[in-house]
C-alpha cells in the first residue's frame, strides 16, 4: 500500500506538499498559504479556485518562486519531476522558469514590455535559457511556429504590444509561456480582462496547445464557469487552505465540503431566475483567523469540534479530497 502510494506520487509531474507562505505586514504575519498540498498529473488541467484573499495567486507565484517582499515561503516542498524547486539556487530556478514551468500572469497582456517589439521579447526568452547561442534564423523559426500554434500571424513579431488587441496580446503571452516546451503552465486569471467571445477563443487555444504539448496546466481564478469549461480537476481554496480537491464533475454535481456546496449553489445559471443563494458572513481575516476550521463561522453544518480542531485535507473517497470534520473516519 505504502509503496503503491510512493509509486503514484512519482508519477506526478508536480507534487506540492505543505506549502506555507506568509506576508510579513506591519500588523503582524499573515499566513496567506497555510499548508497547501496537491499534485498534478501529466497532461492534466487543474483549477485552483477561490475568492479574493483565498491564497490562490500567492500559491501560483510561490510555485514559480516569483513572490516579492513581504511575502516569504516558510515551508513545504514543490517537487517538479522529483526536484524540489524551493531548494534550488536563484540561478537554477531562473533556468527552470519557462523551460520547465511557466506562468501566464494575471493581466498578462500588461506584462509585455511596451517599448520592445513582440519578436524581440520572444527571442530574449529563448536566449535567456540557452547554454550556447543559436542562430537568429533557428530562433525565429521556432517563434513563428509557436505564434502559428496560438493562431497569430508571424507579422506580430514586428509589432509593439500597443498595436495588438487584448486577445492578441494574451495569445502572445501564451506563446511565451509555451516557447520552451514546459511541463507545467500556470495560468493566473488569463482572460479576466477579455470579453466573453475572445475569452472563449483564447481558452480554447490554450487548451489546444497544452494538449499538443502534453503539458499540465494549473488554471488559477475565481470564475467557476471557466473552471467547469476548462479543467479536469478543481482545487477549492478558502482562507489560505485547500478545502476540497476533486474531479470537475464531482465538484459541481456532488460537492463534499460545505463551502464548496454553498459556492456551487450561489452560482447564477440560465435555468432559474431570481433564485439567489449568497453565502452569509464574511471571508476570514488572515491576521486574526478563526480557531479550528477557517470556514466554521459561516458554516451551516458546523459542530462544536469545528471551532477547536483544524480539519486536514484527506482522501475521503477515491480521488475526492476534503478537509472537513464531516468526513472524519471515512478514509478509504
Amino acid at each position: 500500500m505504502a509503496s503503491d502510494r510512493a509509486q503514484a506520487r512519482s508519477a506526478y509531474v508536480l507534487d506540492v506538499r505543505d506549502l506555507l507562505i506568509s506576508y510579513h505586514t506591519a500588523a503582524g504575519p499573515l499566513r496567506a498559504v497555510n499548508g497547501v498540498s496537491f499534485f498534478l498529473r501529466p497532461g492534466e488541467r487543474l483549477g485552483l479556485v477561490g475568492e479574493s484573499g483565498s491564497g490562490k495567486t500567492t500559491t501560483a507565484l510561490g510555485l514559480m518562486r516569483l513572490l516579492q517582499e513581504p511575502a516569504v515561503i516558510e515551508g513545504g516542498e514543490v517537487l517538479l519531476d522529483g526536484v524540489d524547486l524551493l531548494r534550488l539556487s536563484e540561478e537554477e530556478m531562473r533556468l527552470r522558469r519557462f523551460a520547465d514551468i511557466s506562468l501566464i500572469p494575471q493581466g498578462a497582456m500588461n506584462s509585455l514590455n511596451p517599448m520592445m517589439k513582440v519578436g524581440e521579447q520572444l527571442r530574449d526568452t529563448i536566449r535567456a535559457h540557452q547554454k550556447r547561442r543559436e542562430s537568429r534564423v533557428i530562433i525565429d523559426t521556432r517563434i513563428r511556429e509557436v505564434l502559428q500554434s496560438v493562431e497569430l500571424h508571424a507579422s506580430v513579431m514586428d509589432s509593439y504590444p500597443h498595436e495588438l488587441s487584448g486577445g492578441m496580446k494574451q495569445r502572445v503571452c501564451i506563446a511565451m509561456a509555451i516557447l520552451l516546451n514546459p511541463k507545467v503552465i500556470i495560468a493566473d486569471e488569463p482572460t479576466s480582462a477579455l470579453d466573453v467571445v475572445v475569452q472563449r477563443q483564447v481558452m480554447l487555444t490554450l487548451r489546444r496547445v497544452q494538449e499538443a504539448l502534453g503539458a499540465s496546466v494549473i488554471l488559477v481564478g475565481h470564475d467557476m464557469g471557466l473552471m467547469a469549461q476548462f479543467v479536469d480537476r478543481v482545487g477549492v481554496m478558502y482562507g489560505g487552505k485547500l478545502v476540497e480537491v476533486g474531479p470537475v464533475r464531482g465538484i459541481f454535481k456532488d460537492p463534499l465540503h460545505p463551502y464548496t456546496q454553498l459556492l456551487i449553489k450561489s452560482l447564477p445559471n440560465l435555468q432559474t431566475k431570481e433564485d439567489f443563494h449568497g453565502i452569509p458572513g464574511l471571508t476570514p481575516s488572515l491576521l486574526a483567523p478563526p480557531s479550528g476550521c477557517m470556514f466554521h463561522p459561516r458554516c451551516p453544518q458546523a459542530v462544536q469540534r469545528c471551532s477547536i480542531d483544524v480539519p486536514i485535507l484527506a482522501e475521503v473517497r477515491p480521488d475526492r479530497w476534503s478537509s472537513c470534520h464531516l468526513y472524519d473516519g471515512r478514509q478509504p
Partner: protein, 342 residues
Amino acid sequence: MKSLLEAQNVTKIFGSGLLSKGRTVAVDGVSLIVNEDKPAITAIAGESGSGKTTLARLLLGVIQPTSGSILYRGRSLTSMDHRARTEFRRQVQAIFQDPYEAYNPVYKVDQTLTTPVRKFRLTHSREEAHQRIEESLRMAGLRPEETLGRYPHQLSGGQRQRIMVARALLLNPRVILADEPVSMVDASLRATILESLVRLKRELGISLIYITHDLTTAYQISQNIYVLYRGSTVEVGSVDKVIRDPRHPYTRLLVSSIPLPDPDMQWGGESEIETRASATSASLREIRGCKFSNRCPYVTAECLQDRPPLYLTDDDRAVACYQYKDSTQVSGREMAESLARN
C-alpha cells in the same frame, strides 16, 4: 404608460466632427424607456466598445447626446431649469463597478452617506439623518453597527458595494442605474448584492437599469434586455427570448461563449457561429451596412448596403438582422414603448 426616463433615438459621437477619421460613434440611435407605472429591471448588455457605459452616462445627464434626447418625465434634460435638474439628480441614482474608487480613503464611510443627506437637505435634524442612514443601510442588507465608523479599507468589497446601494437608497430614487455593480465582487457575495437590487424593485418600486457584460446575471434579475453592438441595438426584448433563444448572430455568439458553471454544458470545439475575422477599426469605418457584417457568417450583399432595421420576430422581441426581414419592421422607439408597457 407614463415614461419616467427615456432615451429617444440617442446618438453620441466622440471626436472631431469634420473628419470621419477621428470620430467614434459610441451610441448610435438607441431608444429606451423606463415606465413610471411599472417598475422593472432593464438590462443593457454588450462587450467593451458596445457603448453601454456611454449610454449610461447619457441617461445620467453627465454627457450630452450629439442628436436625439434624454427625457425625464417627458422633459429634455437639456431644457431643465435648476430646480428640475436637482430633482432629476436626486431621483436618478447610479451605482458603479468599482466601489473602492468611489470612496475617499482618508474619510470614514459615514461621509459617503452624510454628504448626500446634507446636500439635498433630506432631513431636518442630525438624529433624523442618522436614522435615515441606518434605515437605508439595513435595506441594502448591512448592519449599521458593523459598517458606520469604519474606513473603506476595513470593509469587504461586497460591503463597500452595498454601501453604494444604501447611498442611492437614501435619496429615495425612482430609478437606479447600476453599471457592472457585481463584476468586481466575489461569487459568494454577488448573489447577495443582486438579491438586494431585485428587492429594491419588488419592495420599493424602484426601476433599475442594469448595465453589464454578463448575460447570466442579466437573465437572473432583468425582465427586458437591450443587446448593444458597437453602439447599436442589435436585439431587444424579454430576457427569456433574447438570452434563452437568441436570434441575432451576434447575440448567439455571445450566448454560446458564456462559460456556464456546468461541466455537462461544454463550449463546443468550434462555436456554432464562428466569427470570420476580428473586426478592426479600419474596416469598420467603411461599413455602411450592418456593423456585424464583417464578422457574420450569414452575410449577404444586402447586409453591406444598408443598416438593418429592427424586425419584430416575436411579440416581445425585435432583431436588427435581414435574416428576419419577412417580419414586421418596428422602430426602436415603438419597441421600447411596447417593452416598457409589458
